[in-house]
């Protein structure tokens, strides 16, 4: 039931979540997340961004981290969609939706997948700013967010 998709096409949160729950009566909770391109980052205006990825490894990394989520929490379905190519401010970039019987597991798995994706999936953002193009630098806060999930 897991769906992992990387591509240039836009996605629709409503369609994806409806597809998860359609015909089922065992799901009690669906937590979802959409990340969007903003017009401002690190103090500069951003006119557009381009997402590059590593075809093959991207799908492998996403599959691995979704599998890790499924082994840590009792999940009924997971969808991860990540766009690549050129995006404008306001465009959705990434979608993670997690279905479970109970909300605590759905929330935890959804946030875990986003945090893990930020540090383990090979995507890179390049922004178009008034000062020219720039590659987005990795953020220490993303490492910290991912580290929260490490088990001792």
């Amino acid at each position: 039931m897991r769906k992992i998709l990387v591509g240039a096409e836009a996605f629709d949160l409503g369609v994806e979540v409806d597809a998860m729950r359609r015909g089922r009566t065992d799901i009690g909770a669906i937590a979802s997340f959409v990340g969007l391109a903003r017009d401002l980052n690190e103090g500069s205006g951003v006119a557009a961004m381009t997402l590059e990825h590593y075809p093959g490894m991207t799908e492998k990394a996403l599959t691995a981290l979704v599998g890790e989520a499924c082994s840590r929490w009792s999940l009924l379905d997971v969808t991860v969609i990540h766009r690549v190519g050129r995006l404008l401010p306001g465009d959705p970039i990434v979608l993670v939706a997690v279905a479970s019987q109970h909300r605590g597991e759905a929330f935890a798995a959804c946030e875990f997948i986003m945090d893990a994706l930020k540090t383990r999936a090979p995507f890179w953002k390049k922004e178009e700013t008034p000062d020219g193009e720039r590659w987005v630098e990795a953020r220490a806060s993303d490492d910290a967010a991912a580290a929260r999930w490490e088990r001792t």
């Binding site: 990340g35 997402l51 590059e52 990825h53 590593y54 093959g56 490894m57 492998k60 990394a61 990540h82 970039i93 990434v94 986003m114 994706l117 930020k118 540090t119 383990r120 999936a121 090979p122 995507f123 890179w124 953002k125 390049k126 590659w135 987005v136 630098e137 990795a138 953020r139």
Partner: protein, 83 residues
């Protein structure tokens, strides 16, 4: 051994190269990085000690002391910034 080496994002741009095939005599990812540094210019700069980059072997991120299997697909790229 023969390696297929890929570069992404800022490194791809700075090296002016997305991929190449390499005949390589070393054993580990660190050996490969040292070899690429000898090309000088952006190679020496971006792969210098203290610069932060990632190495993946056959699409798994590895530490620099990882051994490279023959015919490996090796990728070198900046820390990821997706999502």
């Amino acid at each position: 051994m023969t390696l297929h080496v890929l570069y992404f994002a800022r490194l791809r741009e700075r090296f002016g190269l997305a991929e190449e095939s390499l005949d390589f005599a070393g054993a580990t990812a660190a050996d490969l990085v040292a070899h690429l540094q000898t090309r000088g210019g952006a190679w020496a700069e971006e792969l210098a000690a203290g610069r932060v980059f990632r190495v993946a072997v056959n699409q798994d991120i590895v530490a620099l002391d990882a051994r490279l299997p023959d015919c490996a697909e090796v990728a070198i790229f900046p820390p990821v910034t997706g999502g």
